[in-house]
Amino acid sequence: MSEPVIICRDVHKWYGQFHALRGIDLEVDKGEVIVIFGPSGSGKSTFIRTINRLEEHQQGTIIVNGIELSHDVRNIAAIRKEVGMVFQQFNLFPHLAVMQNITLGPIQVRKWKKKKAEEIAMQLLERVGIPEQAEKYPGQLSGGQQQRVAIARALAMQPQIMLFDEPTSALDPEMIKEVLDVMVELAESGMTILAVTHEMGFARAVADRMLFMDAGSIVESGPPSQIFENPQEDRTKLFLSQILQH
């Protein structure tokens, strides 16, 4: 049994007086798919953003891929290389074409040759189903296409772990499916995934574990079967009944 790829022990974070994360403990094994859900303001996004240091945690330990996240900038850079991230608002670079968006990281950070980076970028664009958009600019694409480019951009760095921060929340309903299809395919390929999402269909289909967060703590965790059929905590039941009603 190998080391878990992510180890979080007693992680705390405050925004001024507000206690956003109250002692998160979590171990993630290689290839695991974890879905984090919970009411807004419960700290789900904050938590996954601490894993690649977009948010700083003030107490506790986070070890990613054997490297501890500390104030050492070299560690932060090393971890960011191994952790890909997809944002709710896509955050593609509007001044660069799709191809350049995807190759920027590999060329600048991984120091690959342009040719190699472009070949891999093209393979990824085919994987997410939009190879014909390579020369376009983000502003010329639909939301769903932009999010798929964002996924390709994160994958181009060949990360060990992928973080998804509400990847479908800014999309029109008909575009959600195209993004989820890509995510399902990725999960099935053995990628380690942490996803904040309320797409319960996705969770049921591919999640190994689901975490329900509320008020900065993990209230309940377990496989989808347990969470959906037999939740233990009242807060989980209440929340699920609210989002599954319709």
Binding site: V83, F87, N91, K114, E118, G139, A154
Partner: protein, 397 residues
């Protein structure tokens, strides 16, 4: 019940919006053209009645006045046209240097205003708030009357080592004086420039190939300096003297000799324009950088780009699109504000134009010429900046 549809009833043309649009424009154009014609007609007939028809022939007459600072040969015996040119070049000199220095200072202060360092941040804010809230004319008069003309007399000059002396007659600084071998060195500099360009082009080409653009301007500059240094050594060894000899300002009687000098008027005007415009440029730069969303920085960071790479490859190219248009208007403002030179006694285009009007009585012609020149400057700057802005604009659906 009746309905107003086109089948039933044609709309009269005075209620038809298509006709109305055209009619309004025709009426407006007619009114403007008529008014301008009236003004010009009035002017021409008035001038003819007073025996002074509009003409530029006075420009060939002798100016008969001195100009304190000149970049070209000029004396009392020169023509008005020549005097005009002297003023024009003085305006170009102060505007050109002003734009470069204000841009550098403005960028530094703009970035400082975004600094996380409390002290730097507050100092930059105070600078901007102070300078934006005093009139430029007051600032210029203060710098001239309160600073540069209040410097000690030549005999008691404030010495900065041996290389610079601050006096009420101007700032005297050490300067390179061309020697007999200087003409050879000019060729060395041209070769150095050529080498620098070649290096930059090779690096750019290589950057396109690898996708990782090197700092080609930096290496180009380094190449230029290296070749220039080699040229210097070779020429110094070949001809027994270096191309430039250091000329130190030295007190000789009642004035300094050697080196070069900048008049108090010029220093006051340049410094005033620079620190004043830099405050505005700082705000433009700050707004531009802030316009790039936090998400962009986060996405770059999540890819593993360093802070410098994020700035250079993601933030700055996007900020530039917001910065360039207002920066253009700051450049135009600086150029136009340089006409306040008259308040500190620097002989710029407008100041010389005023003297020409006094001497020749040709107010309309001289002031029209002056306006034309400023207009031309502004249009050229605008055209260039618009072209640049067009080139870097974002592609959208």
């Amino acid at each position: 019940m009746t309905t107003n549809t086109s089948e039933q009833q044609a709309v009269p043309f005075w209620r038809d919006e298509r006709y109305l649009q055209v009619i309004i424009q025709v009426v407006l154009v007619g009114a403007v053209v008529g008014f301008i014609y009236y003004l010009i007609h009035n002017l021409v007939t008035g001038l003819e009645a007073s025996g002074q028809p509009l003409t530029l022939s006075f420009l060939k007459q002798t100016a008969q006045f001195d100009i304190g600072e000149k970049l070209i040969e000029y004396s009392r015996a020169s023509t008005y046209a020549r005097a005009f040119l002297v003023g024009l070049l003085n305006t170009i000199k102060v505007s050109f240097l002003g734009i470069i220095l204000a841009t550098i200072l403005g960028i530094i202060i703009g970035v400082a205003r975004l600094s996380n360092n409390w002290l730097i941040n507050k100092l930059a804010s105070i600078y901007v708030e102070f300078l934006r809230n005093i009139p430029l004319l007051v600032l210029l008069v203060f710098l001239a009357a309160g600073v540069f003309f209040k410097l000690p007399k030549v005999q008691h000059a404030v010495a900065l080592g041996k290389i610079a002396f601050l006096t009420n007659r101007g700032v005297f600084v050490a300067w390179g004086e061309p020697t007999a071998s200087w003409p050879f060195y000019v060729w060395a500099l041209i070769i150095a420039l050529f080498v620098a360009l070649v290096v930059a082009v090779i690096l750019i080409r290589q950057g396109r190939e690898t996708g990782r653009m090197p700092l080609y301007w930096l290496w180009g500059t380094v190449a230029f300096l290296v070749v220039a240094a080699i040229g210097w050594i070779v020429i110094t060894l070949a001809t027994p003297q270096p191309p430039l000899r250091l000329s130190l300002p030295e007190l000789a009687g009642r004035n300094f000799k050697g080196g070069t000098s900048w008049s108090p008027e010029f220093m006051a005007l340049l410094l005033g324009l620079v620190i004043y415009t830099a405050a505005y440029i700082a705000e433009v730069v700050r707004a531009g950088i802030q316009s790039v969303s936090k998400g962009q920085r986060e996405a770059a960071g999540a890819l593993g780009l360093s802070g410098f790479q994020t700035m250079r490859l993601v933030v700055f190219p996007q900020a530039l699109r917001v910065i360039v248009p207002p920066l253009t208007s700051q450049y135009l403002n600086l150029t136009k504000n340089s006409s306040l030179a008259i308040a500190v006694g620097y002989p710029d285009l407008f100041a010389v134009g005023g003297t020409i009007i006094n001497q020749s009585g040709r107010a309309i012609e001289a002031i029209s010429l002056t306006m034309m020149v400023y207009l031309t400057f502004s249009l050229i700057t605008s055209l260039f900046m618009n072209w640049y802005n067009q080139r870097i604009r974002l592609v959208e659906r």
